[in-house]
């Protein structure tokens, strides 16, 4: 379980007048095997929140813990999927997928076997020897996903993973992610700025407000799983999506 209590994050020093309050009093939990999507306007600190949970940046106040162990840095139970893919351009698909295993000291044969299994799972069989630049954006992010899954994390932290992809690729990857998740229900925190994506994927949506980032509401998504690709037409889906949009639009007009 991921537990976040009264989390506050400042960049710079507020009391010097030069800082920015990025997150204020964030309070929520993500249960084991739960898929939580996080949505909010730009500047609400959703990526900052994810990076804190990932242990990549420090925080000043509050508590962030995983199974009641406080987060003090990255850990083997977590893996991150990055918005810009963050693939190593000098090594091929296989080398990228084995990265996490290699740095954790797995033997070469073990890490290659595991990587090949995951490359197959994300549909990139036959592309093991390709360099990232030879792949489309969608394929690159599949490599990113395979790399994260290769280290067998219990928690998957996804930072707008499909945000840089075109609409069609994004839809395909969403469906594939859902299939993967049905197979093995990991705990997922998924940052997005797409309302459809937030509703389609999540068990719950966390709606955030900007400047400083706060949790506005946790919304349950009562849609049955496994979710079919045409789930978007269901009244419940439309209703939640519209509700999110009302809220997000209100935040935008409030700002401008």
């Amino acid at each position: 379980m991921i537990q976040v209590k009264n989390l506050t994050k400042e960049f710079g020093r507020i009391d010097n007048g030069g800082g920015v309050l990025a997150l204020s009093d964030i309070d929520f939990q993500v249960r084991d095997n739960e898929f939580v999507t996080v949505i909010g306007p730009s500047g609400c600190g959703k990526t900052t929140l994810l990076r804190i949970i990932a242990g990549l940046i420090p925080y000043q106040h509050g508590e962030v813990s995983i199974d009641s162990h406080p987060v003090v840095g990255p850990g083997p139970e977590r893996a991150v999927v990055f918005q810009n893919f963050a693939l190593l351009p000098w090594t091929d698909v296989l080398g990228n997928v084995t990265f996490g295993l290699d740095v954790r000291g797995a033997t070469k044969s073990d890490s290659q076997a595991k990587a090949k299994e995951l490359i197959k799972l994300v549909g990139l069989e036959g592309f093991e020897q390709r360099l990232p630049k030879e792949l489309s954006g969608g394929m690159q992010q599949r490599v990113g996903l395979a790399r994260a899954l290769a280290v067998s994390p219990r928690i998957l932290l996804m930072d707008e993973p499909f945000g840089a992809l075109d609409e069609q690729t994004r839809r395909l990857l969403q469906e594939q992610l859902l299939q993967l998740w049905e197979r093995e229900r990991k705990t997922v925190v998924f940052i997005t700025h797409s309302m459809e994506e937030a509703v389609m994927l999540g068990d719950r949506v966390m709606l955030m407000t900007p400047r400083p980032g706060k949790v506005k509401e946790m919304i349950d998504i009562p849609l049955k799983r496994p979710r079919p690709p045409d789930i978007e037409k269901s009244p419940a889906f439309v209703e939640i999506k519209e509700y999110l949009w009302e809220n997000l639009r209100a935040m935008q007009t409030h700002q401008s």
């Binding site: 990932a54 242990g55 990549l56 990255p74 850990g75 083997p76 977590r78 893996a79 991150v80 990055f82 810009n84 963050a86 190593l88 351009p89 000098w90 090594t91 990265f99 996490g100 290699d102 740095v103 954790r104 549909g123 990139l124 069989e125 036959g126 592309f127 390709r130 360099l131 630049k133 030879e134 792949l135 489309s136 969608g138 394929m139 280290v151 690729t169």
Partner: protein, 270 residues
């Protein structure tokens, strides 16, 4: 995109790319050879036509070069020059890469050394010749030292910039998988910075060759530099040009070695 579509797309792109590249390369080579040939013809005719003492015809330079090679004069001098070049350049490589990497990674090291490195880079390295002469006398050490100051700072600066400008998202990715500082260096920073580092090494190689000749002409009086000095004093332009050609070849060979290594290690960046 399905897998088979992607294969078709990438192989098609590859084929177009490679046939285009080979044509281009062929024409490029032809052009290069033609340019060299035209240069030789112009030189030859100017040499005969103008009759200037400092511009002997190209053919006389070639004859002088062959005489040098045949008499063994070049070989013995070349050997001593190359030895100091190799030692001096190797030292500047080690120093330049290590200091550059530390400066690129750690702000505090950068702050401490940046002003010195840039000052020494801008300062004409030949100014140090009398100082090295005073320290090391007429030994190989002064030549090595001159080569070192000529070539090392451009390597430091390039390496530091290369490390500093590595995509921070790759470093963050590595942290997220639990990499320690040493692994960040070996698995991310070093490979990612190689293309820019090699650019610095090539510049450093060029400067090392300059340093070798300048050092030999001004302080050590041995090797190719001393030979050039000697024939320069006799106004024997053909022989001076012949030595210049040898130096040129050393520079080109050095560059080719670095480039081959570079191509092998950074093919991904093409």
């Amino acid at each position: 995109m399905t897998a088979s579509e992607a294969v078709i797309k990438t192989t098609a792109a590859k084929n177009i790319g490679s046939s285009f590249a080979s044509h281009w390369l062929l024409r490029h080579w032809a052009l290069e050879i033609f340019a060299l040939f035209a240069g030789a013809v112009i030189w030859e005719s100017l040499g005969w036509g103008l009759g200037l003492q400092w511009l002997p015809p190209f053919s006389q330079v070639i004859v002088a070069l062959f005489q040098f090679v045949a008499s063994g004069v070049i070989l013995s001098n070349l050997q001593s020059s190359l030895m100091s070049l190799i030692v001096g350049f190797a030292l500047s490589l080690i120093f330049g890469l290590v200091l550059g990497a530390l400066m690129g990674r750690y702000r505090i090291v950068e702050k401490a050394f940046d002003v010195y490195v840039h000052a020494l880079f801008v300062c004409p390295s030949i100014l140090f010749a009398p100082i090295f002469f005073a320290i090391f006398g007429l030994s190989d050490a002064s030549r090595v030292a001159i080569i070192f100051v000529y070539s090392t700072f451009v390597i430091v600066i390039n390496t530091a910039t290369a490390i500093r400008t590595v995509d921070p998202s790759l470093v963050e990715m590595a942290y997220s998988f639990g990499c320690r500082e040493r692994q960040i260096f070996t698995r991310i920073l070093l490979p990612a910075s190689l293309p820019l580092v090699f650019a610095g090494i090539r510049l450093g190689m060029g400067r090392a060759v300059k340093g070798m000749i300048n050092g030999e002409m001004l302080i050590a009086f041995v090797g190719l530099g001393a030979l050039a000095q000697k024939y320069g004093a006799q106004f024997d332009a053909a022989r001076v040009f012949a030595i210049a050609m040898v130096v040129l070849i050393i520079g080109l060979v050095g560059n080719a070695i670095v480039q081959t290594l570079e191509h092998r290690l950074t093919r991904w960046a093409d």
